[in-house]
């Protein structure tokens, strides 16, 4: 079984190479079919492996096994959490490829294979990152998925905004990757190891943490938090999501951002968790503070968007904050909750992006104000949009509600309130869009030229505006929503996830399997009702909730200027260091 681990990366890489080599001669249908077959095969392999991942698999690539406890080879770790992320990434890749079946009516001329090949490369990078057991190798996969993501974001090179968003994304994320590499070099200098558990053992053997460990921690976390778009590292995300083609947004928001959170969890657990690493109280302070700020700022900014893709992107920022809090409280139960939440969120968010893509291709705009009442005839899409929004609020029995309830219970206290507030505001924003766009409720919003990206004047991504929506474009969001529902209702699924996560993260801690509790259901229902109420208020009485003047400075921070974003990265890295410092001084 171990031997199959490298195939998770090799199969999509080979598929991509095949498509690049033969793509010129292949008709469109064949290229898409090959890509779907490859990603489906990888997804199947990842699922089979993750079902057999207890005890976790370890594979030294090329047979370079450690000698006398010291290793120079590359190790892949196939535990439940890593293989689960690989399976999620592969399934979403398949969904994105199926969605784009009829999406780009005209692929780049004479290059039918280039878009699916890039998507497969992204899949390879994500799978590789998920199963990397070696810190430098994780950096290489991190860079592979980043570079492919920049290219995919800028797929429509003829669009001015697209190249600008892709460039910002590229500069900020690459800077993060180099910071991460410097952290890895410092860890190698201290321990002489690159395998994550080897570094962890080396740090513990060296004794109490010092400035070098702190510096390495800050540098590695900076890279991972840029990927996971935590405030103040998040500025690239709304810009990239606003301009990327919709299938790419599904992948970026559904799983790539979450892989950053997964990286934080994995690196802390195996490298920095021991006595020679960063004390638990410090990590908790870092992640809970950053997560709370991220959730609040993401929710507020989400509320004030009228560009629907940016709105969904900020909703992802807010949820990332909730995930970070969940892994930051450092209890096995919260880890289980976050894993379920991530699975549920991936389906819902990808489905919402897919529905937004239908709007874009049918009406040529994603501006909430311009679309007011125009999409009345899309009944099926309207239903999916509302269901997706309610699932985002945590409507039982969706996987999002299940994960949120479990995490809330484990986090406890005032953090519960934060979970409710962030999910209510982000869901209410999506519901407001649905009410206005699909049902034409409320007065037509006044068109004031404000300081913002409106989403008007976007070009549809298909050759012509769609007069009829292809079945693939409606089937994919429906399946994704069904998947998110299955996470919450499938009997025993929570138990399987909890077992996989705890075996990988907390050394097999035996905790009761997550299950629905009356309190959790009530909180989820309350969130849903609150979201409906807030959306109703926003639609019927827009003046009451119009942007107050003190929200303006917050929005001006999102200036679209790459230099500003780099400056914020430095501020964020300093903040990380300051938050982690007290435990080292004690």
């Amino acid at each position: 079984m171990n031997d199959l681990l490298p195939l998770l990366v090799a199969v999509p890489l080979l598929g991509a190479a095949l498509l690049v080599a033969a793509g010129r001669r292949l008709p469109r249908v064949v290229a898409d079919s090959v890509a779907c077959a490859v990603s489906a095969g990888t997804a199947g392999l990842a699922i089979v492996l993750s079902l057999n991942s207890s005890p976790p698999m370890v594979e030294w690539v090329g047979g370079w096994t450690p000698v006398e406890g010291r290793s120079v080879g590359i190790v892949l770790i196939g535990d439940g959490a890593g293989l689960g992320m690989a399976a999620l990434a592969s399934l979403l890749t398949l969904a994105a490829l199926a969605y784009s079946w009829r999406y780009f009516e005209e692929p780049p001329r004479r290059h039918a294979g280039s878009f699916p090949a890039l998507v497969l490369l992204l899949q390879a990078g994500m799978c590789g990152f998920a199963i990397a057991g070696d810190l430098f190798n994780a950096f290489v996969w991190f860079e592979l998925m980043s570079v492919v993501a920049y290219a995919l974001t800028g797929t429509r090179v003829e669009e001015a905004k697209a190249v600008q968003g892709a460039l910002t994304f590229g500069v900020v994320t690459s800077l993060g990757a180099y910071a991460m590499l410097m952290g890895i070099a410092l860890l190698y200098a201290r321990t002489g190891e690159l395998a994550m558990d080897g570094i962890g053992r080396g740090l513990d053997a060296h004794g109490l943490p010092d400035a070098l460990v702190l510096a390495a921690f800050v540098l590695v976390l900076t890279g991972l938090l840029i990927k996971s778009a935590a405030v103040p590292f998040h500025f690239w995300l709304p810009d990239a999501h606003a301009v990327a083609p919709t299938p790419v947004c599904m992948l970026l928001s559904g799983v790539m951002v979450e892989l950053g959170v997964y990286g934080v969890w994995r690196v802390y657990g195996t490298v920095f968790a021991g006595p020679g690493g960063i004390p638990a109280a410090d990590l908790e302070r870092v992640l809970v503070v950053l997560g709370a700020v991220t959730a609040l700022i993401g929710a507020v900014m989400c509320w004030y968007q009228r560009h629907i893709k940016r709105l969904l992107a900020y909703s992802t920022v807010a949820h990332t904050g909730l995930f970070l809090i969940g892994i930051g409280v450092l209890t096995p139960q919260a880890d289980d909750g976050v894993a379920l939440y991530v699975l549920g969120h991936a389906g819902v968010k990808a489905a919402l992006f897919a529905c937004t893509g239908i709007l874009l291709d049918r009406y040529g705009t994603v501006d909430e104000h311009a679309l007011h009442g125009r999409a009345r005839e899309l009944r099926g899409v309207a239903v999916m949009y509302v269901v997706g929004a309610l699932a985002l609020a945590g409507l039982p029995p969706f996987g999002t509600g299940f994960g949120k309830a479990v995490t809330e219970k484990a986090a406890g206290g005032s953090l519960t309130l934060l979970y409710v507030v962030a999910s209510v505001v982000t869901a209410a924003a999506v519901l407001r869009v649905a009410a206005r766009v699909f049902f034409g409720l409320g007065p037509t919003p006044a068109d004031d030229p404000e300081y913002e990206t409106t989403g008007a004047g976007e070009r549809p991504e298909t050759r012509h505006r769609l007069s009829r929506i292809p079945d693939t474009m409606t089937a994919v969001p429906a399946v994704l929503l069904a998947g998110s529902l299955a996470v919450g209702v499938a009997p025993g699924f929570g138990e399987v996830v909890a077992h996989a996560v705890n075996e990988a993260g907390s050394g097999g801690a035996v905790v009761p399997a997550p299950h629905w509790t009356p309190a959790g259901v009530l909180l989820d229902l309350a969130s849903t009702v609150l979201a409906l109420g807030l959306a109703a208020l926003a639609v019927t009485r827009p003046d009451l909730l119009a942007a107050p003047s003190h929200a303006r400075p917050l929005r001006r921070l999102q200036s679209g200027h790459v230099g500003d974003y780099v400056a914020w990265v430095l501020v964020g890295a300093t903040l990380l260091g300051a938050l982690a410092l007290p435990g080292l001084l004690a």
């Binding site: 800028g154 090179v157 003829e158 190249v163 590229g170 410097m182 070099a185 404000e450 200036s559 790459v562």
Partner: protein, 115 residues
């Protein structure tokens, strides 16, 4: 221990970040990103350096005859160079497209995405 190479690496990284934050030209900004990356090369090579050691090439060297520098960091630095070349090439290609579509490479004039 000689800390100078480590200080040099930190300095190069920070000066690259300063350049990125204040750049008025996107080609210059991509160059600054490459400067940040060269800080990682300096750091990696400084980590693997040993006094009086030679290159880890054993074709003309008796194993154990004399100390060699750490070959692992050299492999890492080479991988890093490949990664950096890819990133720089892609970003420069995007800058060309920005110049074509916007008619400028000054980030101060690119203000379509905001709020």
């Amino acid at each position: 221990m000689d800390v100078l190479p480590y200080l040099v690496a930190v300095w190069i990284f920070l000066i690259g970040c300063y350049g990125l934050a204040t750049s008025r030209n996107l080609i210059h900004a991509v160059g600054c990103l490459a400067v940040c990356q060269s800080a990682t090369y300096v750091l990696l090579l400084a980590v693997g350096y040993r006094d009086d050691a030679t290159a880890p090439v054993f074709s003309d060297l008796e194993p154990g005859a004399r100390p060699v520098v750490d070959p692992v960091v050299q492999a890492l630095a080479l991988t890093d160079v490949v990664v950096g070349a890819t990133v720089t090439a892609l970003l420069l290609a995007l800058v060309i497209q920005v110049a074509k579509r916007h008619g400028t490479v000054d980030p101060d004039e690119l203000s379509e995405l905001r709020g």
